[in-house]
C-alpha cells in the first residue's frame, strides 16, 4: 500500500506509529474502531457535546487514524461522563464511552499530564457541600 504519499491523515500518523496505539485502544475498550462509519449519531445525542472541543464521532475518527497526541491533549475525553447515550444509539453497536474511558486511562497511565482533577483545587467549603457520590465518582473517573 502506498500509504506515505498523498493522504494527509496517513502523513499525520505513519502506520508503524498508528498500529500499536489503535491496537491498544481496541484492546482496552474491547471495541473495533473501524466499525464506525461516522454517521455522527453519537455526537447528535451527546448531552455533553456542547462543552466538548472534539465531538464523540471525531474522537473515534482520530482514534482510527492513530492520532494519539491530539486525543491525549483533548478536553473532550474528560468531558464525557459515560452517560451511555451514544452507546445505546450507535447503529453499529460500538461502545463509544468505553473507547473514551480507554483514552482517559491512557492519558493518566502515560503520565503525559497530571490527574485531570486535583482535589486541592476544590475549596474546603465546597468539599463539605458535595455528597460522597459526587466526590467518589469524580475521583474515580478523573484521577489515577
Amino acid at each position: 500500500m502506498a500509504i506515505t504519499t498523498s493522504s494527509t491523515t496517513m502523513r499525520n500518523s505513519p502506520l508503524q506509529k498508528r498500529g500499536p496505539f489503535v491496537a491498544k485502544v481496541e484492546k482496552i475498550a474491547g471495541q473495533k474502531l473501524l466499525a464506525c462509519y461516522q454517521c455522527g449519531k453519537c455526537s447528535a445525542g451527546c448531552p455533553m457535546a456542547a462543552y466538548m472541543d472534539v465531538l464523540p464521532n471525531q474522537i473515534i475518527r482520530l482514534a482510527q487514524l492513530g492520532m494519539q497526541e491530539q486525543l491525549m491533549a483533548s478536553g473532550a475525553i474528560w468531558t464525557c461522563v459515560s452517560c451511555m447515550t451514544c452507546n445505546s444509539r450507535c447503529p453499529k453497536g460500538i461502545r463509544i464511552a468505553e473507547i473514551i474511558e480507554a483514552l482517559r486511562g491512557m492519558a493518566i497511565g502515560l503520565r503525559r499530564r497530571d490527574d485531570h482533577l486535583d482535589i486541592r483545587d476544590i475549596s474546603l467549603e465546597t468539599r463539605g457541600v458535595l455528597p460522597p457520590i459526587a466526590l467518589i465518582s469524580a475521583m474515580r473517573k478523573q484521577t489515577s
Binding site: P47, T85, I133
Partner: protein, 302 residues
Amino acid sequence: MAGESKPMKLMYYPGCTLKNHARNFDVSTVSSMAELDVEVEEMARWNCCGTVHALASDDIMHRVAPVTNLLRVKEANASEFMTSCAMCYNTLKRANIDVRKRASALESINKFMYLDKIKYEGDVDVLHLLEYLRDRVGFDKLAAKVKKPLAGLRVACYYGCLLVRPKEVAFDDAENPTVMENLVVALGGTPVPFAQKTECCGAYHTVGNPEIIADRTDKIMGSAHEEQADLVVVSCPLCAFNLDFRQADAKRLNPEFHHLPVLYFTQLMALAFGCDESALRFDLHHIDPLPVLAARGLMGSA
C-alpha cells in the same frame, strides 16, 4: 405476593450517600416499604459500590468493591437484594453481569478476596426498588395502600442515565421509560410529559465543572417547568444534588429560571402512604417542597 399478613423481608443496600446527604432517600425507602408490608433489612458489612462502573476491560480492580457486596449478600444466605440508589444499582448490576460473563475476572476477584470463606459465583441478583415495586409488589396493590392520594400534583419523572442505560441493566425502555410515571399514577398524582427525562444531568462534573451542571439543570428543570410540573422526582442522589443544589447557579445563568423542588420517588410514596413527617426529611432539600405540596393540599401550611 405471598402471604398478606406476614411481612416480606427484603435485603437492602443503602449506599454511602443515603447515609449522608440523602438520608431523606433512606428513611423514605424504609418507611414506605413498611407500609407495603415489606420489611427492608439493611445488609451487614456493606461497602461503597465504587459509584461508577469501570469501562476498561482490563480494570478488574475496580470490580472488587461491587462484587464484595454481592458476596456479603450471599453470606447472609440471600439470593437477591434491593437498592433504591440508581447509581449503586447500575454499578452493582454491571459488575455482576461482567463477572457472570467472564470467569477469569471472577476468579481474579475471588482470589483477591481470599480471606472470605465463601466464593462469589454470580449467584446473587441485583434489584432496583422501582422494578421490585412494579414486578413483585404490583402497582395495583401499591395503589390500595394510598391513604393520601397525590391529587392534582403534577410530577415530572426524571430517570437520568443509570436506570435505563446500558440496555443490559435497564428494566424499562431506554428512550421513553414509564415505570415512575406508572408509580405516580398509582399514588394518585399526575405525571407530565418530560422531554429531558433521560438526558444526563452532568453527574460528577458538579465537582470540577459546576458551570456545566448549572446549564444542564437550567435545561432539565426548565423542560419540567414548561410542562407545568410542580416538582421533579428522581432515583439518583447525584441527580438530586445537581438538580436541587445547582438551581442557584442555574438562576444566575438564566434569570428566567424557575425554581422547582426535587424529591425522591420514595418520598412521594411516604407522603401518599401517610407516613410520619420524619420519613420525609424535607429539611435536607435546598428548594423547599413544602409550599408546592401545601398548595396542592398535601401538607399542612405550617
